[in-house]
Symmetry: C2
Subunit: 115 residues, 2 copies
């Protein structure tokens, strides 16, 4: 039951389950950042922030290049696309819910007109 | 920084980070199941499987109704849609990657033609 894709999804969703890591990804969405810049907004030690960066890196969502003494990070969207594809299977369920809502509203509007 | 929506996403992504829970959701996608039916395919105790069901329930992805002695479960897609909306923000990154690939292929095809 466990295969490469599944293990990969474990790491992707686990990485996304933390608000600091999600905020770091959002920060990276506007461009490359050093680990220090990624750590700055958070009320935590540099070491703690660096651990979050490491989790994102291990899940494949962050690429790092070393330039002298600074580690420059950028977003890598592949794993986010993988998560998105996994979720897409369930889209019919929330689409159905919206269809149900729309049908209910149409019926409701019809009843009001007839009154 | 931490708000209701963010806490909700923590639970949603954490629930999705486990292959047993993802498999249970897939099972529920074809219809209502008892906790016993959800537990059956897995090589684990009923109690362990029931804990996974509880995690899905707490993340809002599973609704349970009690009918006599059996707990009947069904999928609730709202939180999956929430996760999908969060991921949608990053779609431009993987779309860009595909555009880059397409452009590279077009250039490559152009070069081959000229040879």
């Amino acid at each position: 039951m466990v295969n490469y894709q599944s293990c990969h999804l474990d790491g992707i969703f686990a990485a996304l389950s933390d608000p600091t890591r999600r905020a770091m990804l959002r920060h990276l969405s506007s461009g490359e950042r050093t680990v220090g810049e990624l750590a700055a907004p958070f009320d935590m030690s540099f070491a703690a922030a660096a651990k979050h960066v490491k989790v994102l890196e291990e899940a494949g969502m962050l690429r790092r290049r070393i330039e002298g003494r600074s580690h420059r990070c950028r977003i890598n969207a592949g794993p986010l696309a993988t998560a998105n594809r996994w979720l897409a299977y369930y889209e019919r369920f929330w689409s159905m819910r919206l269809d149900d809502l729309e049908n209910a509203l149409v019926r409701h509007a019809g009843k009001r007109k007839r009154k």
